[in-house]
Symmetry: C2
Subunit: 356 residues, 2 copies
């Protein structure tokens, strides 16, 4: 695992990363996760116009709040956080200037249709490496063995194999493949298949359902080099979500029953650009129940718009505001700082399994 | 974990069990799994008329094939295998005589509707314990935190809390809850919730996607006391499935994409008694694709019946014979004996994590 330390020298093992949750994962959160020895990812999504602000926010945090934390990087200009894009919407040309200026340690690509993966991710990988002289590593998130092969074997000739693959299992909250496996099988099958195809060493990050040190230790047993948590960081004081959303994360339990994969949360909010193979996992709410009973999208969307007026009361049982969350939501019971989450989770994992 | 050894003194840790796969898991397979230090379960399902034959077959194996293996049990009359029932169909009165006569080490209950769990499982638990003087332990399979609570907290007053809970995640092959979590979150959430409700020590067996030592080690990290494999034992020389079925298990890869949860496999085969909350995971085949395109069940069933005539050629790409399998199917690549599977998997797990 220690080869990750070569590219991200400030990290402590086992590596814990924060998912680039759109709107929620800010520069502040990302900086705090990295300062605790993880890798924090800013959730830029398709809003590359926010890159400058968020990367500056992270920079400021390292200079102020975290100024006593030693953040060794591969090169002095590297900013020890990552940035996540949703590449069905993000604009490469518009994103490059801020990437070139701030040199984030990693960018994380996700969300295009299968048939454009090679062209879109390939362009991003090539040009991001170009403008940062390879200082910014590229992570690509996939959810199947086929896509992991596609991103390695099929990218080899153009010299644009990603530096890291994030394997997302179906327990994950938010967007992912409609149809897939949990990391219990996805991780070992990808590991074996890539090894047999000449990629035995590509770092694999496990995502989807990991909520505490037990999930981290389990992921390492399955073959992961590090892990990513999203839902756990929703109960974090530095995450930019409403109190209503956070309350619902703390309330929901029995995560396999209280969450569901669906496209209804996109449809009521008007996010219709996601490619067909993706949906998102969220806590079941009235938008979902009404859709299941046959309500048309137009009516459901109107009710969603009206619900917005309720503020925090729009979340929860009977509410309509979207609570993206993974099946690990029932394991998330208290709000902590990002630093506490990273350190506690890492220590829990180390008590269960030897990690270096 | 070692408290499992009290009730099943022949086992070796970590405990590996074989799922009671209907028709496939015979007395021979169960005996072989137990002889290798696991616990083999015979898949009786709803055909309690087969109990006498299968339990006799297991007995014979211990007296012949495995006669040199020391099979310590809690009492000389205990037969060191388990028996699994599908309790929407199994008849308690009809099953009891063979249970009383052969005293299997465990019975495994599964598959009734939520609202009858207390009454049906309660009766089985009480009467099985009665006729075997408590020598036969009772395992109940659940797939949610709510059902785990139901089987403990709500069974306490009638003194019929099961001896063991099997937690089945949605990666599992064959039947299970339509809507649930993978064991990455199901196991730790159930563990924590039961501990907080006064059941910190009830043994929990992880099922669903575990296919090799990595999955075993991961399950132990998540809090499991032992694990259950089904799909892996389909590629076993002692399992009673057709060559066509076995070939399809060996062929299928990318398990999250090549399998799907559906009720279509029940509908084409005429198994309509499963309660509404269950479906089954199998390798996608022509029955499934046609159903997705809108084919009516009647037509689909006719095509299935015709397909039966093809024998082994009815399985595979374009075929219609059902291949129940979990998302771990892509990790199953070779046919081995049950003894090899149990020993290899146990040793792999022990290399990854300390297990006692």
């Amino acid at each position: 695992m220690s080869f990750l330390k070569k590219d991200y020298p400030w990290i402590q093992l086992p590596l814990i990363t924060c998912a680039p949750m759109l709107f929620a994962a800010t520069g502040e959160l990302a900086a705090a996760v990295s300062a605790a020895g993880g890798i924090g990812f800013i959730g830029i999504g398709f809003k590359e116009e926010d890159l400058e602000t968020q990367l500056s926010q992270a920079t400021r945090h390292f200079q102020t709040t975290h100024k006593d934390v030693k953040m060794a990087t591969t090169s002095p200009e590297v900013l020890p956080v990552g940035v996540g894009f949703l590449n069905w919407g993000a604009n490469l040309d518009a994103a490059l200037p801020a990437i070139k200026k701030h040199v984030p340690a990693a960018v994380w690509l996700f969300g295009v249709a299968k048939e454009t993966m090679i062209s879109v991710y390939g362009s991003w990988i090539t040009r991001v490496r170009e403008v940062t002289g390879g200082c910014t590593k590229v992570w690509v998130q996939v959810g199947s063995v086929a896509d992991a092969l596609h991103m390695t074997v099929d990218m080899k000739d153009s010299n644009s194999v990603p530096d890291v693959l994030v394997l997302q299992g179906v327990d994950a909250g938010g967007h992912g493949l409609k149809h897939g496996a949990g990391i219990i099988t996805l991780m070992p099958e990808v590991r074996d298949t890539l090894a047999s195809k000449g990629f035995p060493d590509i770092p694999l990050i496990a995502a989807g359902g990991i909520s505490d040190g037990r999930g981290v230790a389990a992921s390492l047993c399955l073959g992961a080099d590090g892990i990513c948590m999203g839902t756990r960081f929703l109960a974090c004081s530095q995450t930019a979500i409403t109190q209503g959303y956070r309350n619902e994360i703390l309330r929901a339990s029995d995560g396999g029953r209280s969450t569901v994969r669906s496209t209804v949360y996109d449809r009521v909010r008007g996010y219709v650009e996601w490619p067909e193979e993706y949906d998102g996992r969220g806590v079941t709410n009235q938008s979902y129940f009404d859709e299941q009973k046959g309500m048309e999208d137009e009516e459901n969307r109107k009710l969603y718009e009206a619900e917005k007026q309720k503020g925090d009361a729009g979340w929860g049982v009977g509410g309509r505001m979207t609570t993206y969350a993974g099946t690990g939501v029932g394991l998330v019971k208290t709000v902590e700082s990002a630093e506490e989450i990273v350190r506690k989770t890492r220590e829990e994992a180390k008590k269960i399994i030897k990690c270096d």
